[in-house]
């Protein structure tokens, strides 16, 4: 079995069988990360180029390590400070990448649809590492992986996603992924930060945070993206924290063995309180490890052989 497309731009059009294949492959990959010699020769001679138009430490490092553990060569293109008109600079970048002979391009870009645009112009595989508020499929997949690993299943899980849904590509990839696998997704946050038609994606919008948390098996706390806030969507960070910060008391509304997740980087004391972030239910550090495993799986499945 193999993924149907040459790219991974989002979870919206990925089948349950494909998700299953990715998660199963990631399980084997995780075994490699835990070894003393963290390297297998699978992608020897292949090249992975990361192109990041937005700042990132975790995701970029995670993709680069994933590629290196599989013996691929990696190059990073720092485009963060580019001020060229976006459509044009992206096409130029694409041409350069094609000329350099990359097998995979990992792209992060502030514009929704950037990865898809690149995918349609390149022969190489494109992995979307975040495009605007659209999708961040590898983060969605690592969330699914972590939930499945801890809970043994995805079907029937109740997943609460709390915070700034509007600006969150993680939330969107999570919603597509979890609902495709038969989990229930509930959303809660300031009403100004919940897009009107998000329920069309299959998630349930809760009036208040208590309803979203009640009996949840997974609580995913989103980062308040201070860099993306237009003025006036909520009164102040202090006010946000008072209403929506996941603290011990609020986490207590979820199932007793609920998992606490956060895509990072955390604003401690704003969307999540330090005691639960470092508490027994937190799987936030494991999410980071699992992220490498999931990205290894994606790289293998996209370019690891089998005539296309």
């Amino acid at each position: 079995m193999k993924l149907r497309g040459k790219d991974m731009v989002g979870l919206r059009h990925i089948t349950a069988q494909e998700i299953e294949l990715i998660l199963n492959t990631a399980e084997a990959m995780k075994g490699i990360i835990n070894r003393q010699i963290k390297k297998v020769p699978t992608l020897r001679g292949r090249t992975v180029i990361t192109v990041f138009y937005e700042a990132s430490t975790r995701t970029r490092t995670s993709f680069e390590l994933a590629a290196k553990y599989l013996s691929a060569d990696t190059v990073g293109i720092a485009a963060a400070t580019s001020s060229v008109s976006k459509g044009e600079s992206l096409k130029d970048t694409a041409r350069n990448i094609a000329a350099m002979g990359a097998d995979v391009v990992v792209l992060r870009h502030p514009m929704a649809g950037a990865a898809e645009l690149l995918a349609s112009t390149l022969q190489a595989s494109v992995i979307n590492a975040g495009d605007g508020a659209h999708e961040h499929p590898s983060q969605g997949l690592l969330d699914l992986f972590t939930a499945r690993e801890k809970k043994g299943r995805l079907e029937g899980l109740k997943v609460a996603i709390i915070g700034d849904i509007m600006h969150s590509r993680v939330a969107r990839s999570d919603i597509w992924g979890y609902t495709r696998m038969g989990a229930e997704v509930r959303l809660a946050g300031p009403s100004t930060l919940i897009p009107r038609d998000i329920e069309k994606m299959g998630a349930i919008v809760c009036e208040n945070i208590e309803d979203a948390l009640a009996g949840a098996d997974v609580v995913n706390v989103l980062r308040i993206q201070t860099e993306r806030q237009q003025q006036g969507l909520f009164p102040s960070l202090r006010e946000y924290s008072r209403m929506f910060c996941i603290n011990r008391e609020r986490l207590g509304l979820a199932a007793p063995d609920a998992l606490l997740m956060h895509p990072g980087p955390m604003n401690r004391g704003i969307e999540i309180s330090p005691d639960v972030a470092d508490g027994l239910q937190s799987v936030i550090t494991e999410q980071v490890t699992n992220g490498v495993a999931v990205r290894m799986a994606l790289l293998y499945l996209l370019i690891g052989g089998g005539a296309r």
Partner: protein
Amino acid sequence: MIKEKAQILDQEGIRRSLTRIAHEIIERNKGTDGLALVGIRRRGVPLAGRLAERIMDIEGHRVPVGILDITLYRDDLTTLAHQPLVRSTEISFQVEGKIVVLVDDVIYTGRTIRAALGALIDLGRPKAIQLAVLIDRGHRELPIRADYIGKNVPTAKKEEISVRLQEIDGEERVVILETPD
């Protein structure tokens, strides 16, 4: 159409071969000290388990058994028509300093074993690696040989050896298959 040409081993034949190999492993290594068995997915896995049971019956000592998946070490990944599934390697003991007996159903070109040697050595530095196979069908493409062999079967390249085991195939026999030209 692939047709069955001949049966090489039946249930009893497989059982006797494994019993003899278990004795040979113990004899050659003078007991079970520092010994471990590692089955190569898929059919090496039940065979390694059975050899460990035989060794237990003979010596009264349980040797550790592991599972090796060699997919990520294959040298033919780019040429295969279908992408093989990657599965977990499950070796819960330290291979460092052990005498590891790799177990597989058939040795043919030797490429699977080459990949297995790479995969195993990446887990640590065994004192020695030996190889046990149920069938050696010849046609080696690499300088690799088995230490313990259930049965040597001369074959033509267009033939195929099919080892069918209870745990995986629901029957217990080894046959030669032939693809007509």
